[in-house]
């Protein structure tokens, strides 16, 4: 049974990891907790749903449309709700309040367009399952895991091998110096929002497929768990966010299997508080942001 639980945990955790990476990328360049990131994720899920309905269940189109829609929304959030505030050098918390406003708007707009109720996520995929020892793997699980891994590897290659990716890391390290060295930091910030939001959108479609249920208000819970995953890994650390997501996913699934299932949503936070008390910088984090 344990192997099966571990597999389920890794699958769930990989979607949390995608959300957490988005938070951590944005935090890295702007030191901003993007409180509407959960809603951007939710928009991806609903865009995917629209695509699935339009094409009659094609998962690939849904993933592409969900990712693109979230990336677009993310870019708009940066351009309309965050950049103007940074220009005016407001209080450091002003952009955060602004993202709370954006979150309300996104929830309401989606709730008016698709209805406020929870809806299913129909798809047209052969329900194949394989048995490896005591473990049952479905084609859907494999797809979710596969897409998450591909996206994370792609991100890894992007930030380590491409010029743009390196510029992004340089901006995260020190925006002022990066700017002096000729990196157009405004463009990099926009690019970061596009990538972070796109990953969130893909996660939205994957979560829709995994649970076959999405709602305009699902962004709150998933958003908070993504934040916890980011914090566990250490702020601004992409690989930490991946690990943090997996830890949260595994903790949740194992707590349902072996402890009290109704408290599943609280376990992630209990782990977080324990980590914060013992090691405030997160598991892989540096002390860089703790002192700030």
């Amino acid at each position: 049974m344990l192997e099966q639980q571990l597999l389920n945990g890794v699958m769930l955790g990989s979607t949390y990891a995608l959300i957490a990476i988005g938070y951590t990328l944005i935090f890295g360049v702007l030191h901003l907790v993007h409180l509407a990131h959960g809603e951007v994720f939710m928009v991806g899920a609903f865009a995917g749903l629209a695509a699935v309905k339009f094409t009659g269940g094609d998962i690939f189109t849904a993933l592409v449309v969900g990712t693109a829609a979230s990336a677009l929304v993310g870019a708009l959030v940066e351009l309309l709700a965050i950049r103007p505030i940074r220009r005016r050098k407001g209080h450091m918390l002003a952009p955060m309040i602004s993202t709370i406003g954006v979150g309300i708007v996104l929830q309401e707009v989606v709730a008016r367009t698709f209805g406020a109720e929870q809806v299913g996520f129909p798809h047209r995929m052969e329900p194949v399952s394989w048995h490896v020892g005591s473990v049952t793997v479905t084609s859907l699980q494999l797809l979710i895991l596969g897409v998450s891994i591909v996206l994370m590897v792609a991100l890894h290659l992007f930030v380590t091998r491409t010029k743009l990716g390196m510029a992004m890391r340089a901006t995260a390290e020190d925006a002022g110096i990066a700017h002096t060295l000729g990196i157009r930091s405004e463009r990099i910030v926009l690019l970061t929002f596009v990538i972070a939001s796109g990953l969130g959108g893909a996660a939205g479609v994957l979560v829709g497929l995994a649970f076959n249920a999405i709602s305009p208000f699902m962004g709150i819970d998933m958003g908070i768990k993504g934040l916890v995953a980011m914090l566990l890994g250490g702020l601004g650390n992409i690989y930490g966010a991946m690990a943090g997501g997996l830890i949260i996913g595994l903790a949740e699934v194992l707590s349902v299997a072996y402890l009290a299932s109704s408290y599943r949503d609280a376990f992630a936070f209990v782990i977080m508080i324990a980590v914060l008390l013992l090691r405030p910088r997160g598991i892989f984090g540096s002390t860089h942001y703790v002192e700030a």
Partner: protein, 269 residues
């Protein structure tokens, strides 16, 4: 006399003032919290359980609820000593969620189906007295020894410590009193709404309280009070927009942060 509608708006305004001040206090010492909804629900559930099931007098139940939230605030205040900024925001968000999940599963207070039939003890005159008392306290606090200590901790922790201020005492105290105030607000809310369930005290509630303080301006407690008025009144004034009023409210938040990032009456820093 005032009609029912005006009365309910005024009551929510009073409760929101108390909630906004409950967050203003830790914020004035530089401690950010996005988990005031958690303290509020502890106060609401404790006092409602006491009046409903044990037939305690309202005043006593209200005090007990506030005390319970204050004690939990004390416990949350200790981790706050070691962490700051974003870490503290996420920690308090996690705290709020833990409290929500706890009440979602806690059978004696109705778990997910909530607690109903709470007697409507919260009246406008009573609430006005409490709100004015709390506001007076904040007015007195400004120039007091403790008030200055809080301001010193906010401006520069190291310098404050050197002048002999105990960081631990100030930080834990403001968190505990903030929690107790939120618990008081929760108790008053429960005895007006007559029905409470865990969903009412989730992240959205905490975010709303956070918005009140920042929208008003963090510089002084007038800001928090004004923010509470705004957040209560605005959705009411926007009723003509019907289904789109919350969308408009969200947009307004964004615009407000672009135009006046320091809040309505806050000081520019």
């Amino acid at each position: 006399m005032l009609d029912q509608y005006t009365q309910s708006v005024l009551i929510f305004m009073g409760i929101n003032v108390i909630l906004a001040l409950s967050l203003y206090l830790p914020i004035s010492a530089g401690l950010l919290s996005l988990g005031q909804g958690g303290f509020m629900s502890i106060g609401a559930y404790t006092s409602a359980y006491l009046t409903l099931n044990l037939a305690w007098p309202f005043a006593l139940a209200l005090a007990a609820g506030s005390l319970a939230a204050g004690i939990v605030g004390l416990l949350v205040g200790f981790p706050a000593l070691r962490i700051k900024g974003v870490y503290l925001i996420i920690l308090t968000m996690g705290f709020g969620e833990i409290v929500r999940v706890f009440f979602l599963n806690f059978e004696p207070t109705g778990a997910a189906s909530g607690l109903g039939g709470i007697p409507g003890h919260t009246t406008l005159p009573l609430l006005s007295v409490i709100a004015v008392a709390v506001l007076t306290d904040f007015w007195q606090l400004r120039r007091s020894r403790i008030g200055r200590a809080i301001a010193a901790v906010r401006e520069d922790e190291l310098a404050a410590e050197i002048t002999g201020i105990s960081l631990t005492r100030v930080k834990v105290t403001v968190f505990a009193i903030g929690g107790a105030l939120a618990g008081l607000g929760g108790g008053l809310y429960a005895h007006y709404a007559s029905f409470i369930d865990p969903a009412q005290f989730g992240f959205q509630r905490s975010a709303e309280i956070f918005v009140m303080v920042l929208l008003g301006g963090m510089g002084n407690f007038f800001g928090a009070t004004l923010g509470a008025f705004t957040v209560t009144l605005l959705p009411e004034l926007l009723r003509f927009l019907q289904d789109w009023r919350m969308t408009f409210f969200g947009t307004l938040l964004v615009v407000m942060m672009i135009v006046r990032p320091w809040g309505i009456v806050g000081a520019r820093r």
